[in-house]
């Protein structure tokens, strides 16, 4: 997973002055849900005031798949910018898709994954993030928010729902101040913790920036760092976290 040690690289999004539409791919075993998302994303004109102040980019749903095998095959062929990934599918689910694309696409895949699930069970969410998804939102999200989340993920930022922020806080909160083997990697800084707390409280990135007197860019960097640490934090941490919650 070293290819994505890229905390906050928003240059790609801004370098392209008049960008091509973002290519989005849908993976979900419910045809009805796919149709709904496709209609909502397709029919959605980006609002003028994008949250982060960037020029809004159009979204183009280039394909969809209902099974893991089909999804992997099509993603490798189509190379979309962002894949919306369901967590639970009959034949393995989002994690299998993510891992297969990573494996077969090699290090060259610039495809980014955003988990979009009806499940908000902690193990599903954290598991997918650890496998390399750039964010996680629940299916109850509004279409504007979903579009904004897709754009943010395509830009290299992480997208955290309040609930995901809560899970992460939980995962790292076992012993906040105790020294660990590799504090750089495993612990969140005070600032990152503050950002996560505000996220969990339902603040938008913009509101967090205002609250903490920092720029939105800085907020996004903090969130990306949290994501990176989450993917890289050791197995011991995860197993203890799971055991604490009686997940194992």
């Amino acid at each position: 997973m070293s290819e994505q040690g890229d905390p906050g690289v928003p240059e790609t999004g801004e370098a392209a002055a008049q960008p091509a539409p973002l290519r989005v791919f849908l993976v979900d075993d419910h045809a009805m849900f796919r149709a709904g998302v496709r209609a909502e994303l397709g029919g959605q004109r980006p609002p003028d005031t994008s949250e982060s102040g960037r020029e809004p980019i159009e979204l183009d749903v280039v394909g969809e798949a209902s099974t893991v095998a089909e999804a992997v095959r099509q993603i490798l062929v189509l190379r979309p910018d962002v894949v919306l990934l369901d967590v639970h599918m009959p034949d393995g689910g989002g994690r299998a898709v993510l891992e297969a694309v990573r494996r077969e696409g090699g290090g060259a895949t610039a495809v980014r994954f955003l988990a979009l699930s009806v499940s908000d069970a902690a193990e599903d969410v954290i598991g997918l993030i650890r496998a390399g998804a750039r964010g996680y939102v629940t299916k109850s999200i509004s279409s504007q928010e979903l579009a904004a989340a897709i754009r943010r993920v395509a830009d290299g930022d992480a997208v955290f729902s309040p609930r995901l922020a809560g899970f992460v806080l939980d995962a790292f909160a076992a012993r906040p101040d105790a020294p660990v083997a590799d504090p750089e990697l495993d612990q969140l800084t005070t600032r990152e913790r503050e950002v996560l707390r505000l996220l969990a409280r339902g603040y938008a990135y913009k509101e967090i920036a205002k609250e903490l007197f920092i720029s939105i860019k800085t907020v996004e960097t903090h969130v990306s760092n949290v994501l990176r640490k989450l993917q890289m934090s050791n197995r011991y941490e995860l197993s203890r976290w799971a055991a604490d919650r009686r997940l194992v």
Binding site: S119, A165, R197, R201, G202
Partner: protein
């Protein structure tokens, strides 16, 4: 009743490809080996003092017939392969008799035991065949009344009658007697002083094992039936619980949604309430609102959702297992509920966030909406709800509440409650440690 097959595949006697009793075919199917190989092993084991026959008889007695094995059908032209195997067995025996010449005593013992086993088996299966094949295929209701002693009676009385019953025990007893007499006759000439005692012991032991051999299949089958019955009952119970849940909640909600299809807010409220119920049912460990803070907060959030048609996103961090729900925590929950109610009533938003963080020595709860907001300085004087139900309530219980709002920016209510402190000492703590300094 096809909810789930038993997790590990059971070993059954096969009905379809059997030559004799279907033991070899069943084992072959279970292990994924060719049937011929298993049969060859049995024949080969014959060479070891009849071990093959003995093993076959034991498997025969112990294994149930495959309930999903299709029709009870023997392999066609069964005489020919049987003859083949009999010939092979003869070859093995002759070969063994010619090459190895070990103690005749153990050989005789082995063969006699095998003979007894086969005799008991034949008589047993000849009479109880109908009962054994029907039983595993029987469903819950049929076995439902056969708990405890009833099953015992059932197993005995479902036999084809008194005659078969007698035949079995007389035949089994006769076989045992023959076996024992043979053994005694064989061993008696060897006897000396201590050897005579040994023979006596052996005699008793043989009698016991003979009885066990005759009755073991019965016991085994009864336990099997009981086990199956219990599993079926558990499955049935789970299914019934699920069906009741779907019937009581989901179907009614769907019916209500159909009838209120033109009222968007009603449909939303119903769907949201149902989603919450199902979610709790699927993912959440059952916790009572009077025992766990998280359950209490979620219940409060659910009530507000239903009453005001909004969505409350509940996020809880930290373990609330040790917190308990005493008076003070209940006050915290009530204050949070009041904050949610205010948001639902005045904020004009669809979504409200509720974030609770449990730390070892304190609990923080934040209720946040992005609605119209208000100017706290203008309202604080007159509004009883905010002052009495939120701020006053928290202060009475040793915590504190703070309301941040401005027009257009939404509202956040911050509640703080110290744990493991009496209200008296906590009031001094309130001034010393303002929770807002820690988080914002």
């Amino acid at each position: 009743m096809d909810i789930a097959a038993s997790p590990s595949p059971r070993l059954y006697r096969s009905r379809e490809h059997r030559l004799a009793a279907g033991v070899a075919a069943g084992i072959a199917a279970h292990l994924g080996l060719p049937v011929l190989a298993v049969r060859a092993v049995f024949v080969g084991l014959l060479g070891f003092n009849g071990l093959g026959v003995l093993l076959y008889a034991i498997f025969w007695a112990v294994l149930p017939v495959d309930p999903a094995g299709g029709p009870d059908r023997a392999e066609s032209r069964r005489v020919l392969p049987l003859l083949g195997f009999a010939g092979l067995a003869l070859v093995v025996l002759v070969f063994r008799a010619l090459t190895v010449d070990d103690q005749p005593a153990t050989a005789a013992l082995g063969w006699l035991t095998a003979l007894i086993a086969v005799g008991a088996g034949i008589i047993w299966h000849q009479t109880s065949g109908a009962a054994t094949t029907r039983r595993p295929a029987g469903s819950g209701p049929e076995l439902g009344n056969g708990a405890g002693g009833n099953a015992w009676l059932g197993a005995v009385l479902t036999e084809t009658g008194r005659r078969a019953y007698l035949l079995r025990f007389i035949g089994g007893g006769g076989l045992i007697a023959v076996g024992m007499i043979g053994l005694v006759a064989f061993f008696a000439p060897v006897g000396g002083g201590i050897a005579a005692t040994m023979n006596g012991l052996l005699f008793a032991l043989l009698a016991l094992s003979g009885v066990a051999l005759v009755s073991a299949p019965l016991l085994w089958r009864i336990f099997g039936a009981l086990r199956e019955e219990r599993e079926a009952r558990i499955r049935e119970q789970e299914r019934a619980e699920f069906a009741a849940m779907v019937h009581d909640e989901v179907l009614h909600t769907l019916a209500l949604i159909q009838r209120n299809a033109e009222s968007g807010s009603t449909v939303y409220r119903l769907a949201r309430a149902q989603e919450r119920t199902l979610r709790n049912w699927l993912y959440k460990p059952t916790g009572s609102p009077s025992e766990r803070l998280s359950a209490a907060l979620e219940q409060a959030a659910g009530e507000v959702e239903d009453a005001y048609g909004i969505t409350v996103e509940v996020v809880l961090v930290g373990s609330d297992a040790e917190v308990g729900v005493g008076d003070r925590v209940q006050a915290l929950v009530a204050a949070a509920r009041e904050a949610l109610v205010n948001a639902g009533r005045h904020a004009q938003v669809a979504t409200v966030s509720l974030y609770a963080e449990v730390e070892p020595d304190q609990v923080n709860v934040f209720v946040r909406d992005r609605g119209v907001g208000f100017d706290p300085t203008q309202i604080n004087g007159g509004r009883h709800g905010v002052r009495g139900s939120i701020v006053g309530r928290m202060e009475r219980h040793g915590g504190s509440a703070k309301i941040i709002s401005s027009a257009g920016e939404g509202t956040e209510v911050r509640l703080w409650l110290p744990l493991r402190a009496t209200p008296a000492t906590a009031t001094t703590g309130t001034a010393a440690a303002d929770p807002e300094e820690g988080t914002a």
